[in-house]
């Protein structure tokens, strides 16, 4: 049932190849097999957004994505440059408290940006509705999102 399979995917620009159990989620693949722990376990059932990464430019919940089903390059928080405008906006707006949810928010927003367009506040709220944060009241996260992506 849990046979081992070879998973070969491109992660943050580098092709990696590992023998993993077939049931390995992308999140565990990143965290355990590659040591990329920036993507977090928040719920493991696709309801909190803490594990968000980009697959082929689209935000995906890595906890409910099997590593073997990944087609296309994966980008994680570790692959986001420090001067990315979204990262900088989070910094500027003091948008993190414990920081556990932060990578997921950033990756989700990068996905929104890749999608193109200039989302208004309503659209940003909708997009961020899939990410949970237990520390903040979301206002600074929204401010950062508006600053980095919004219509000004």
């Amino acid at each position: 049932m849990n046979d081992e399979l070879v998973v070969a995917i491109e992660v943050n620009g580098e092709t990696v190849r590992r023998l993993v159990p077939a049931s390995r989620t992308l999140l565990e693949f990143l965290r355990v097999d590659l040591g990329l722990t920036g993507s977090k376990h928040g719920c493991d059932v696709g309801d909190c957004g803490a594990c968000t990464v980009l697959v082929d430019g689209v935000a995906r919940l890595s906890c409910i994505t099997l590593a073997v089903e990944v087609r296309g390059p994966v980008r994680t928080i570790e692959g986001v440059p420090a001067d990315d405008p979204i990262v900088a906006a989070f910094d500027r707006h003091l948008a993190s408290q414990c920081g556990y949810c932060t990578p997921g928010f950033v990756m989700n927003l990068i996905g929104v940006r890749e999608d193109g367009g200039a989302p208004d506040e309503e659209a940003l709220r909708n997009a961020l509705g899939s990410n949970l944060c237990r520390c903040t009241g979301y206002t600074r996260i929204l401010d950062a999102a508006k600053d980095a992506l919004g219509q000004g």
Binding site: G38, V87, V106, G129, L132, Y138
Partner: protein, 775 residues
């Protein structure tokens, strides 16, 4: 680059860049040590059961399984618990709740451990279980010792009161739902010693429990905490069992063992905020002033004492909230049930106490068809003699009246109130409500001995600094505040100071980072340590510069006399080293002037009070019961803010968590005592869509506090209770669907379903012309 952190100035979180880059490490992110195994707990499926037999044979046979451990495998004590050791780490004779661990499986991978856990054979004989507060009361199944407070003559006051409210107030449980679930990693070290990484708010307690479970002295165990992905009280006492499972597994296998709980395990193994039931009678005079309050307070402790007695006591301390009550008779009971052992949660009983008196305010107003704020304002603490709490502590700077004045002005209360009345008169489906909530919250651990803290500061010969203190960084910005204090005291930029991970080998015998006390206690300890080092350095600088030590100023990385000679701090550090002057120091602080006699229910349990107030506007739909917060205005007294940006974030986050508790977070157990809302799909915490688009958060100005660290006040818990304002607002909106004069029966959390029921109920009574339920 370290971000710019300065005392009394808005500063980023010290780990902000690490958070946003994914570099910030939490326990589960630490690199796996060589040979690490994984532990997985086997939980009782029964709320109360005798364990007839247990057998790990089938589980052990699974390839990759290293050990299956039961109570008998514990080398030291199998009993844990923060106050009394009344919990079996691994259930021995009986399992006390669904989720009580019976065994721990240790295996090569977590997947194998989980698979093996299902193969552990335990035969249970199911016993009768207590699943509600009412069943516990009937069985007189109480834990701890009741606490009583009394003043004046309640019977006489009720007899002469213009209005008497007799009711039962209930508040719901709440799951902490920190985004980071519990984790622990136990590493055996040479010589029979231990290094434990734990996601705990209380490393000293984990140290003590692991030592006791392994039968070792505490010096054999070092507990280290990198940071937490949120705690909120849920990692105060609850972390110990997880760390002990890991330590036990590592002890038996001789290999490092990690135990990490997934969300479902976290929610089904660990305790919640206590649900309370309070039966009360409140009396008001004709002016709306509270004259008497009698309360019988019942807390659902779950299966063990944990911190329940202290939490229940804090509820008593906050039954008065911001109001002077001349005649009181308070008594609490801590009820044992066969449910998860409820525990600390931001506010620690305070919110549960306040919900009661606010219920009384609302009912009095609703019955008379008046504005509840008339009752609130008339009852505020004020000048003597209206400045003494039910437990005899003087309220030195009552701030409720000022908060009401400033907040009602800044929130445009009167105008909006009139507009809402006009709206409600014409709108039949959607009604609005405007609620006001004052908060007075006592600051200090009510167990006086816990009000102590230590620090260890090290200055290196190049002028760089390491700062250790006993507090845990869990997102609340404690390290940021401590860096600001250390930088200020040593006169160096905070970027020259490194906040070290909290560890029991740096600062011993710490209290939990809890009770909002983190910066109050550790702040003084850090400051005292820095001051000691500075004093020693000043003697050297005075010699080198030829000026009196007393004239020296340490600022901006320079040490010198104003207008006179100076030298860089780094150079001075090196000179001190050369001259063989100690550049490290501990610092210590014990809060002064605390004395509380629990037997008499009298004394000074708190160093001071933190105050705050909220004005919350809601909109309610009568067809669905759906509601939303349209706008909220918050005003919080944090003294002179150590770091305003951090404090504002705390106020906002706490308020949202309070609103979540009272409006959407529903903890449900089934009839067999199983916690069924064990994931985000069934347990709803606020999302961005639940936060009011118009949220205005301010700190009260010019309120420097005497005797506290740099004049600041605690901020962690108090603003959670600002969320109670949402209940007042909802009740007003619900009442608008019926004729005036009816008390609102709104169950909490006020989910759309509960709101809809409340609307139907009040409408039915209104249509029947029936008097109020408790009239």
């Amino acid at each position: 680059m370290t971000p710019l952190i300065k005392l009394n100035a808005s500063s980023p979180h010290e780990s902000a860049r690490k958070h946003v880059s994914g570099a910030a490490r939490y326990v589960d992110d630490l690199p796996a040590p060589q040979g690490m195994l994984h532990g997985f707990a086997v939980a009782s499926p029964h709320a109360h059961a005798k364990i007839v037999s247990r057998d790990g044979t089938r589980a052990r046979a699974l390839p990759g399984v290293h050990a299956v451990l039961f109570a008998a495998d514990v080398p030291g004590s199998n009993h844990i618990g923060p106050v009394v050791h009344d919990e079996d780490l691994l259930a021995d004779a009986t399992a006390q709740c669904v989720g009580h661990a019976v065994a721990v499986v240790v295996a090569e991978s977590r997947d194998i451990a989980r698979e093996a856990a299902a193969l552990v054979d335990v035969v249970y004989e199911v016993l009768p279980a207590i699943l509600t507060i009412e069943e516990s009361i009937a069985a007189k199944a109480f834990l701890g010792s009741p606490h009583h407070m009394a003043r004046g003559d309640v019977d006489a006051a009720l007899a002469s009161a213009a209005i008497v409210i007799k009711a039962t107030a209930r508040n719901p449980a709440q799951d902490h739902f920190y985004l980071e679930t519990h984790a622990a990693l136990a590493i055996p070290e040479e010589g029979g010693n231990w290094l434990i990484y734990s996601s705990t708010q209380h490393p000293t307690e984990v140290q003590g429990e692991v030592a006791s479970v392994l039968g070792l002295p505490r010096n054999a165990v070092v507990v280290e905490v990198p940071r937490l992905g949120g705690g909120f009280g849920g990692k105060e006492s609850q972390a110990s069992q997880i760390a002990c499972w890991a330590a036990l597994g590592a002890h038996v296998t001789g290999r490092p063992v990690k135990v990490w709980l997934d969300r479902e395990q976290d929610m089904t193994h660990t305790g919640k905020r206590h649900p309370f039931r309070t039966d009360y009678e409140a009396g008001f005079d004709a002016d709306g002033r509270l004259t008497a309050l009698r309360a019988r307070v019942y807390a659902d402790a779950g299966f063990s004492l944990d911190l329940s007695q202290a939490i229940n006591d804090r509820a008593l301390f906050h039954l008065d909230n911001a109001y002077y009550v001349p005649n009181v008779d308070f008594q609490n009971f801590t009820c044992k049930t066969n449910l998860l052992s409820n525990t600390a949660f931001r506010g620690f009983g305070g919110p549960q106490g306040m919900v009661v008196i606010e219920d009384a305010m609302q009912r009095a107003a609703e019955r008379l068809g008046k504005d509840p704020n008339v009752f609130r304002v008339a009852s505020f603490y004020g000048d003597a003699p209206r400045n003494v709490t039910p437990y005899g502590m003087r309220v030195d700077q009552p701030r409720a009246a000022r908060l009401w004045e400033e907040l009602s002005a800044s929130s445009d209360y009167a105008t909006r109130s009139a507009a809402i009345a006009a709206h409600n008169a014409t709108s039949s489906v959607v009604k609005r409500g405007l609620g006001f909530m004052p908060v007075k919250f006592g600051i200090s651990f009510t167990a006086t001995l816990l009000n102590q803290a230590g620090a260890l500061v090290l200055v290196y010969a190049d002028g760089s600094v390491q700062m250790n203190h006993g507090g845990i960084e869990m997102g609340q910005g404690l390290h940021t505040k401590m860096l600001a204090i250390a930088g200020d005291e040593l006169g160096v930029p905070a970027s020259a100071v490194r906040a070290m991970d909290t560890a029991t080998d740096k600062v011993p015998n710490t209290s939990a980072t809890a009770a909002s006390s983190g910066s109050d206690l550790n702040g003084w300890a850090v400051r005292n340590a820095c001051a000691e080092i500075r004093q020693r350095m000043a003697v050297v600088a005075a010699e080198v510069l030829g000026v009196p030590a007393a004239a020296l100023v340490f600022a901006d990385g320079q040490v010198g006399a104003p207008g006179g000679p100076s030298m860089p701090f780094a150079k001075l550090a090196n000179t001190c080293w050369v001259r063989r002057i100690s550049l490290s120091s501990t610092g210590f602080y014990a809060t002064p002037d605390l004395a509380y006699d629990r037997e008499k229910g009298f004394g000074r349990p708190f160093f001071y009070f933190a105050w705050g107030a909220s004005v919350v506007e809601v909109e309610v739909n009568a067809l669905t019961g759906e509601h939303r917060v349209v706008r909220a205005d918050l005003l919080q007294d944090v003294g002179k803010s150590l770091v305003p940006s951090i404090d504002l974030g705390q106020v906002e986050g706490a308020f949202v968590q309070g609103v979540g508790w009272l409006t959407m977070e529903e903890c449900l157990y089934d009839k067999r005592g199983r916690f069924v809302t064990h994931g985000p799909s069934t347990y709803k915490i606020p999302t961005i869509g639940d936060v009011p688009a118009d949220l205005r958060v301010h700190l009260l100005e010019n309120v420097e506090q005497d005797g506290t660290i740099h004049g600041s006040k605690a901020v962690g818990e108090p603003p959670l209770m600002l969320g109670i304002g949402v209940v007042s607002a909802l009740r007003q909106a619900i009442g608008a669907f019926a004729s005036p004069g009816h008390e609102i029966e709104l169950a909490l959390p006020a989910t759309p379903e509960a709101v809809l029921r409340a609307i139907m109920d009040v409408r039915a009574r209104s249509a029947a012309g029936a008097p109020s339920l408790h009239g």
